[in-house]
């Protein structure tokens, strides 16, 4: 689909709003299973990079991804607000550690925002950008993120 210059392609979506470092991120609610307080993480030897380890979520073993590393950010020191977002995409369920979860909001997401295309922000794992009050919220693209983690695994196997 081609768009004319100057027009924005807006989509209204419900997202979970969270922060990593000073950055605001969003993840579509459909991809969020639940939000939990951090649980002890068990390191898995030989696991691909970007996997911090696994947690026991009521009997299921769930891998936790180093989201901050992937996004090139730094998690703040534990301030009591940190959470793990349990997200799922297709057959994969993962935990994402974040600094805080602000809430669930409706956003008008611009999926073709020029800001995304100018390489100011690492656009790789972002699928859009939205404005909430005066804040910019970056919409996380879980599919491409998991794709990369998986690719990483294959590379290590070889």
């Amino acid at each position: 689909m081609k768009q004319e210059a100057g027009t924005y392609r807006l989509e209204r979506r419900q997202v979970v709003h969270f922060t990593i470092g000073s950055e605001n991120y969003g993840l579509e609610v459909e991809q969020v299973q639940e939000i939990i307080r951090p649980l002890p993480v068990t390191r898995v030897p030989f696991a691909p990079a970007f996997i911090e380890g696994v947690i026991n979520l009521r009997g299921s073993i769930i891998p936790v991804i180093k989201l901050d590393d992937l996004l090139g950010r730094q998690l703040s020191e534990n301030n009591g607000y940190s959470r793990v977002i349990i997200a799922h995409f297709q057959e994969i369920t993962v935990g994402l550690k974040v600094d805080s979860v602000k809430g669930v909001v409706y956003l008008n997401i611009d999926i073709d925002d020029p800001i995304l295309k100018q390489a100011q922000i690492k656009t790789r794992y972002l699928s859009g950008i939205g404005k909430l009050n005066e804040q910019l919220i970056l919409l996380l693209d879980l599919a491409s993120l998991l794709e990369d983690v998986k690719l990483n695994k294959q590379e290590e196997k070889c």
């Binding site: 898995v44 696994v54 026991n56 009997g59």
Partner: protein, 654 residues
């Protein structure tokens, strides 16, 4: 119509019918006069046709339709059961199987060899016009009572008719129509026999046609007109019974009837069994197993908490709960158990085909097919067994003339047996063939460079036999279709070991070979040793542990820059878990090192750990799609305190 959601059911059920067909066709081959087996075959083929048509699989429906036509001819006795017909029908089954698989994998129906359909058509056309005359009497088999009635009626000038009734395609209440036919015929005379039996007619266990023998004074035409007046009913044929011919067949029929009733009984009883079962999605069983695993973990947790309080009431309650969980756990395990018959059922056909192609006479004896194994094990065990059976047929069993020359019975015996022993299942594949020549194996092993000649002198026969599990080893000098490529036994062995099982061979030259497989009942819950490396806990499956020991630093020697140690005159390599697993906080100097000696087959090595925590029953949990298949890690388990511990895959360390 969107049929995709019926896919699973379709695949499962059609597989069942194919298995059924396979089994019964082989039964029919041995027992060509057995009508009830033929009926069972016909019924399965008919159901398959219906299912294929519903799913929109036109080619499959076409093929089954042609099969049905041939089966009808067999049923009506218009063609005789012969080897080539069975062969043809069996290869149809193979094609059907391939079609179903193709349908599942590609979502559309693969094309089939028109050859089979043509062959079936030729058979059915040839059958129906050439053998008209011999037809009718051949399938009239009466018991003594029926014959005496027939004889008496003939003497008093009654006529006996053989009437074949056909119901219209799609008749809804078939039993009601049959009942009306009976009512109508009873006005004319006495019904002495019907095929299938009345009971089956009442329960609608028949296809669209059935046969009746009637004694009457009236003539055929009148009866036919009356019957044709009933809606949805058509008289396909009405012929007078030739009693003399039937009489002559009576003695043969008597013998067959005995067989018939036995098989019939077993069919009926197997049907009764079906009614008591419920088909459950395997995922649900897995979920259930998971939840019970959870419960076991929580029970352990409660026990730990209670031990800190010394409250006898609490302890009693927890003890009671412990018993209940154990019961529940063993019950769920039982539910997941599947009889090994599922795997064994395909072998009669395979043995038949292979022994035909090798021109050997082999009798397959199957024992203990009701032995149950966890479904996860059942899924994996088929392939290694196929290897072993092929080996036995190809290498083990001699051609008939060679057998006769050494005073063995011409027909070789291949025995496949399963039985439970404690928490293990033993599967044996035994043949009475030529056995393995240990000296030949020694020679070949040296020639092919598997073992140094000097080393060979120290090996006993058992150790020599183990060489055949080495990759690429084969004593067969010629490669053929069936085996001898030297890729068999090592694959078998590694498969069995991945199932936590063991494999042994007993053989005697000239007498035969016996392969003994020992498998655990389930893979979901295992005994494991928990160890600490640094601050991290790991589980090592107990079945791969030989022993634990400790070493002082002086006992550790260096060989080519690798650490080794001596264990009762054996030099074993030493692996430091802290380095292997890249444990961050580890590598502290201990005055003594704890060593867990693990094995894979005959190989052994020592793992250095920081602490032995203890032996525990653990529930194996998968690591999920993202982490599946990491080498070195067999899965994870949840400990009593809720923490996750990873399970080391010992096999991958060698």
């Amino acid at each position: 119509m969107d049929v995709s959601r019926y896919m699973d059911i379709f695949v499962a059920e059609s597989q069942e019918h194919l298995d059924n067909l396979n089994k019964n066709l082989l039964l029919l081959e041995k027992n060509p006069d057995n009508k009830s087996v033929l009926y069972e075959i016909f019924r399965s083929a008919h159901t398959l046709k219906g299912m294929a048509a519903t799913m929109g699989l036109e080619r499959m429906a076409e093929l089954t339709h042609e099969m049905e036509t041939v089966l009808t001819l067999l049923k009506e006795g218009k063609i005789a059961v012969k080897q080539d017909i069975i062969d043809l029908l069996l290869s149809c089954l193979d094609d059907l199987n391939a079609m179903i698989r193709g349908f599942v994998n590609e979502g559309k129906e693969p094309s089939i060899a028109q050859g089979l359909i043509d062959a079936l058509r030729k058979l059915s056309e040839g059958g129906s016009d050439s053998s008209q005359e011999q037809t009718k009497s051949s399938d009239l088999e009466f018991n003594e009572y029926e014959l005496s009635v027939l004889k008496a009626s003939k003497e008093s000038n009654y006529k006996s008719y053989h009437i074949i009734i056909e119901l219209a395609e799609g008749t809804v209440m078939k039993s009601a129509r049959a009942f009306m036919v009976f009512r109508c015929l009873e006005d004319f005379g006495q019904i002495i026999k019907c095929i299938p039996p009345v009971q089956d007619l009442e329960e609608e266990k028949f296809d669209n046609s059935f046969e009746i023998f009637l004694i009457t004074m009236d003539d055929a035409e009148k009866i036919a007109t009356n019957l044709n007046n009933i809606s949805e009913v058509r008289v396909a044929s009405i012929t007078e019974v030739n009693i003399d011919k039937s009489l002559s067949a009576v003695s043969a029929a008597k013998n067959n009837n005995k067989d018939d009733s036995k098989v019939e009984n077993s069919i009926i009883s197997s049907k009764a069994l079906h009614l008591k079962t419920v088909r459950v999605d395997i995922d649900r069983l897995d979920d259930m197993m998971n939840l019970v695993g959870e419960l076991v973990i929580n029970k352990t947790r409660l026990e730990q908490i209670a031990s800190g309080y010394r409250m006898s009431e609490l302890e009693e309650a927890i003890e009671q709960m412990g018993r209940l969980t154990t019961d529940l756990q063993s019950l769920v395990m039982k539910v997941r158990m599947v009889p090994i018959r599922q795997v064994f059922d395909r072998f009669p056909r395979m043995v038949r085909d292979i022994s035909h192609s090798l021109q050997k006479n082999v009798e397959l004896v199957i024992e203990g097919e009701q032995t149950e194994l966890d479904r996860t094990v059942i899924d994996e065990i088929g392939e290694p067994l196929v290897h072993l059976i092929r080996n036995a047929l190809d290498h083990g069993i001699e051609p008939p003339d060679e057998r006769v020359a050494v005073d063995k019975p011409k027909t070789a015996l291949l025995r496949l047996a399963a039985r439970q022993e404690g928490n293990n299942v033993i599967i044996e594949v035994e043949d009475d063939g030529r056995g393995m020549d240990i000296d030949e194996i020694r020679k070949q092993a040296i020639n092919k460079g598997f073992i140094d000649p000097r080393e060979m002198e120290h090996l006993d026969d058992k150790a020599v036999l183990n060489i055949i599990f080495e990759q690429g080893f084969s004593t067969n000098n010629t490669v053929n279709d069936i085996s001898g490529r030297g890729i068999g036994m090592d694959v078998v062995k590694s498969k069995i070991e991945s199932l936590n099982g063991t494999i042994d061979i007993e053989t005697e030259k000239g007498k035969g070979t016996k392969v003994i497989i020992n498998l655990p009942l389930t893979l979901a819950i295992i005994q494991a040793l928990l160890v600490k490396v640094g601050e991290e806990q790991y589980a090592i499956p107990l079945h791969s542990i030989d022993e634990t020991t400790f070493l002082i630093p002086e006992q550790i020697k260096m060989v080519q820059n690798h650490e080794v140690f001596l264990l009762r005159d054996m030099v074993l390599p030493l692996i430091r878990c802290s380095r292997l697993l890249e444990v961050p906080t580890a590598d502290k100097k201990n005055s003594e090192e704890f060593v867990v000696v693990v094995h894979k087959g005959a190989q052994r090595l020592g793992l250095v750990v920081d602490e032995l925590v203890g032996q525990q029953e653990i529930v194996i949990k998968p690591l999920g799609n993202l982490l599946a298949g990491i080498p070195g890690i067999a899965g994870a388990t949840i400990l009593g305190n809720g923490q996750v511990a990873t399970i080391l895959d010992v096999n991958s360390l060698f």
